[in-house]
C-alpha cells in the first residue's frame, strides 16, 4: 500500500471510529486497527501467542495467515503426553513445545512454562487433554502448518489413526518413526508403505504382523531403521537408493549379505550406500564360523590393520542422530573401482541357550571423508 493510500485508509478510519461497544479499561479493539497496523502489532507475538490468537476465530486465523512468518520446523512426538515441537530453523537453542496432558488442575490450563538447560531454552504450553487428544493434536498440527505455511518435518506415530491422517494431510514427509505395536495388520503396513513418502528417515519399532508378509520394493528414504525387519527382502535392499540401512531381526541370510557386498563392489547397485547394519536372528553358536565365511565368500578383501582415517560415527537421521560405531577387530576392507572403501566388521551376542546373534556392519568411506 502506498503511503498516500495508507493515509487515506487511516483518515477514513478516523471518520468511522465510532466504536459501538466501547472498550473497557483493559481492552483493546485490535481488529478495528487498519490492516497494516494490525499486522505490525501481531508480528510481535511469539509462536504460542500466534497459535492461540489464530485459533480464536476464522477472521483471526485469516489475519495471522496473511503474515509471512519465518518457516517452522514442526515435529510431532510423545513423551508420556502427545507433544508438538516447534522451532525456527534459523534460531538455534529455542524450542516451543505444546504438550497435552491432564496432570494439572483443570482451571489452570493453558499453562506456560520455560525451562533453561545450558544454552537451550524450552518454552512449553500445556493444554488440557480433554479425552479427545488424538483429534485435538491432528487439528492443531493442521492449523499450525496452515498459519505458518510450513510442512510437518518429523512425526513419531504413536497411534494408528495418525497413519491415515498423514496419508491424507501430508503424504510426503521428511522423517517418520512408527512406535512399537502401532501397526497391527499387513493392510495398514502396505497402505503406509505405498502412500507415505519418507524422504529422509523411516524408522519402525517392533510390530506384530503376519510373518508371511514380505516386500520386494525399496523404501525410498535416505535412512531406514527397522526392527523386526523379517519382511524386508534382498531385492528391496538391492534396488533401493538408501544411504543408511539398519535392519534388526532380519531374515536376510549370510548369502544375501554376501550378494549385497558383491553388488556394492561391482558398483551398479547400492551406489548411495554409506552404512549397512544387519542384526541376524539367533543362530546356533557352532554355526557362526560358517555364517561368517558365507558372508565373506569370494570377496577380494584386505585386512585393515589400523583405522586409516575411517570415521567412527555415522549420521543416521539428518544430522539429528549421530551413531558411534563399535570398535571391533578384525575389520576387512573391500575396495570399489571409484576408490570407495567398504569396511566390514561384526559383533556377537551369545545366549545361554547356545544361540548367537550376529550384528553385521558395513561402512562405506573414502580416504577423503
Amino acid at each position: 500500500m502506498s503511503s498516500h493510500a495508507a493515509e487515506m485508509t487511516l483518515l477514513q478510519h478516523f471518520g468511522q471510529q465510532e466504536v459501538q461497544n466501547k472498550p473497557k479499561k483493559h481492552q483493546f479493539p485490535l481488529l478495528k486497527l487498519p490492516r497494516v497496523l494490525l499486522f505490525d502489532c501481531i508480528q510481535n507475538l511469539n509462536i504460542f501467542e500466534i497459535i492461540l490468537f489464530s485459533r480464536l476465530s476464522k477472521r483471526a486465523k485469516s489475519i495471522a495467515k496473511r503474515i509471512r512468518w519465518d518457516p517452522l520446523n514442526i515435529h510431532l512426538t510423545s513423551d508420556k503426553d502427545p507433544q508438538i515441537w516447534l522451532k525456527h530453523d534459523t534460531v538455534q537453542g529455542l524450542d516451543w513445545i505444546i504438550d497435552y496432558n491432564n496432570q494439572k488442575k483443570s482451571s489452570v490450563y493453558p499453562v506456560f512454562e520455560t525451562l533453561l538447560k545450558g544454552p537451550q531454552a524450552f518454552h512449553s504450553l500445556f493444554l488440557k487433554d480433554n479425552g479427545n487428544v488424538i483429534e485435538d493434536v491432528k487439528q492443531m498440527m493442521e492449523h499450525i502448518c496452515e498459519v505458518f505455511r510450513s510442512p510437518i518435518s518429523d512425526i513419531r506415530i504413536f497411534e494408528e489413526s495418525f497413519i491415515e491422517w498423514i496419508i491424507q494431510f501430508q503424504p510426503t514427509i521428511q522423517c517418520v518413526w512408527i512406535r512399537k505395536d502401532v501397526i497391527t495388520s499387513v493392510e495398514t503396513m502396505e497402505r503406509m508403505l505405498k502412500n507415505i513418502t519418507m524422504t529422509e528417515f523411516f524408522g519402525l519399532q517392533p510390530t506384530e504382523i503376519d510373518k508371511k508378509f514380505q516386500i520386494t520394493e525399496p523404501i525410498p528414504s535416505r535412512s531406514i531403521a527397522i526392527y523386526n525387519s523379517f519382511w524386508i527382502t534382498l531385492p528391496s535392499i538391492l534396488n533401493g537408493s538408501n544411504s543408511i540401512i539398519r535392519l534388526f531381526d532380519s531374515n536376510l541370510t549370510a548369502k544375501d549379505i554376501n550378494t549385497i557386498l558383491k553388488e556394492w563392489q561391482i558398483g551398479n547397485k547400492l551406489q548411495s550406500l554409506e552404512y549397512l547394519e544387519i542384526q541376524t536372528p539367533k543362530i546356533d553358536t557352532f554355526a557362526r564360523p560358517d555364517y561368517n565365511n558365507e558372508i565373506l565368500k569370494d570377496l577380494n578383501l584386505t585386512v585393515s590393520v589400523d583405522n586409516n582415517g575411517r570415521p567412527n560415527t555415522v549420521n543416521i537421521d539428518n544430522d539429528v542422530w549421530t551413531y558411534t560405531l563399535p570398535q571391533t577387530q578384525p575389520v576387512y576392507n573391500l575396495i570399489r573401482n571409484d576408490g570407495m572403501i567398504g569396511s566390514i566388521f561384526g559383533t556377537y551376542e551369545v545366549f545361554q541357550c547356545g544361540k548367537t546373534r550376529i550384528s553385521f556392519y558395513f561402512q562405506v568411506w573414502s580416504k577423503q571423508t
Partner: protein, 188 residues
C-alpha cells in the same frame, strides 16, 4: 624523539584540543513550532523534538517560519484527541536528540488510550514510537489464555462475526433500496 623535534615542540604552542570559548560558533537558537489537536489546545514543540515525526518534519523542513509566523500558524491535527497529542508531544520531547532505546519505559501507561495513540502515532509517522506501541499491544496478551485474549483484544467469535456480516448486508440492502427509491422519486 630527536632534539630538533623537542625544540620545535617546545617553541610552538600546543594545539588546543578545544576551541576557546570566545571562538565558538554562536549557538543557533532552537526553532519552535505549534501543534494542536481536536481540543484546540496549542502545544509548543521544538523542531528537534518534532524530527521524530516524519509527517511534521516533512511539513516544516521548507517552511522557514519565524517564531511569530509559527505561533500564528499552529499545525492542526483535528483527528487527534488533545490528550493523545499531549502524550505524543511529551514522548517527542523526552526523546529529543537521543537515540531511542530498544525498550521504552516512557510509554504512556493508559491501556484504554493505546488504540487512539497507535492511530495517531501512525498518522504522524513516528516510527520508533509506533514500534513501541505495537510491542505494547502484543504484550497485553502475554501469558493469557485464549478466552482472555479474546476478551482483551475484543475478538468476536465466528458466530458473532457471521451475525455482524448478516446485519451489515441487511443494512446495505436497505440503504441500496432507499437510494433506488430516492432516485425514482427524483426522476418523477
Amino acid at each position: 624523539m630527536s632534539s630538533t623535534e623537542q625544540g620545535t615542540s617546545s617553541a610552538a604552542p600546543a594545539e588546543p584540543t578545544t576551541a576557546p570559548e570566545s571562538a565558538a560558533a554562536p549557538e543557533v537558537p532552537e526553532s519552535f513550532y505549534y501543534v494542536h489537536g481536536k481540543d484546540k489546545v496549542v502545544h509548543k514543540v521544538s523542531a528537534g523534538a518534532l524530527q521524530h515525526s516524519a509527517l511534521i518534519h516533512g511539513m516544516i523542513s521548507n517552511l522557514g517560519y519565524t517564531e511569530e509566523q509559527a505561533k500564528a500558524n499552529p499545525f492542526p491535527f483535528e483527528n487527534i484527541d488533545g490528550d493523545i497529542l499531549q502524550m505524543v508531544v511529551d514522548w517527542c520531547n523526552q526523546h529529543k536528540g537521543k537515540p531511542t532505546p530498544p525498550e521504552d519505559t516512557n510509554l504512556p501507561k493508559q491501556k484504554e488510550k493505546l488504540f487512539d495513540l497507535v492511530l495517531a502515532v501512525n498518522y504522524l509517522e513516528i516510527k520508533e514510537l509506533l514500534t513501541y506501541c505495537c510491542k505494547q499491544v502484543a504484550m497485553m496478551v502475554k501469558g493469557k489464555s485464549p478466552e482472555e485474549i479474546r476478551e482483551i483484544w475484543m475478538i468476536p467469535t465466528d458466530a458473532e462475526d457471521e451475525a455482524a456480516e448478516k446485519e451489515a448486508k441487511k443494512r446495505a440492502g436497505k440503504e441500496a433500496a432507499g437510494e433506488t427509491a430516492a432516485a425514482a422519486g427524483d426522476a418523477k
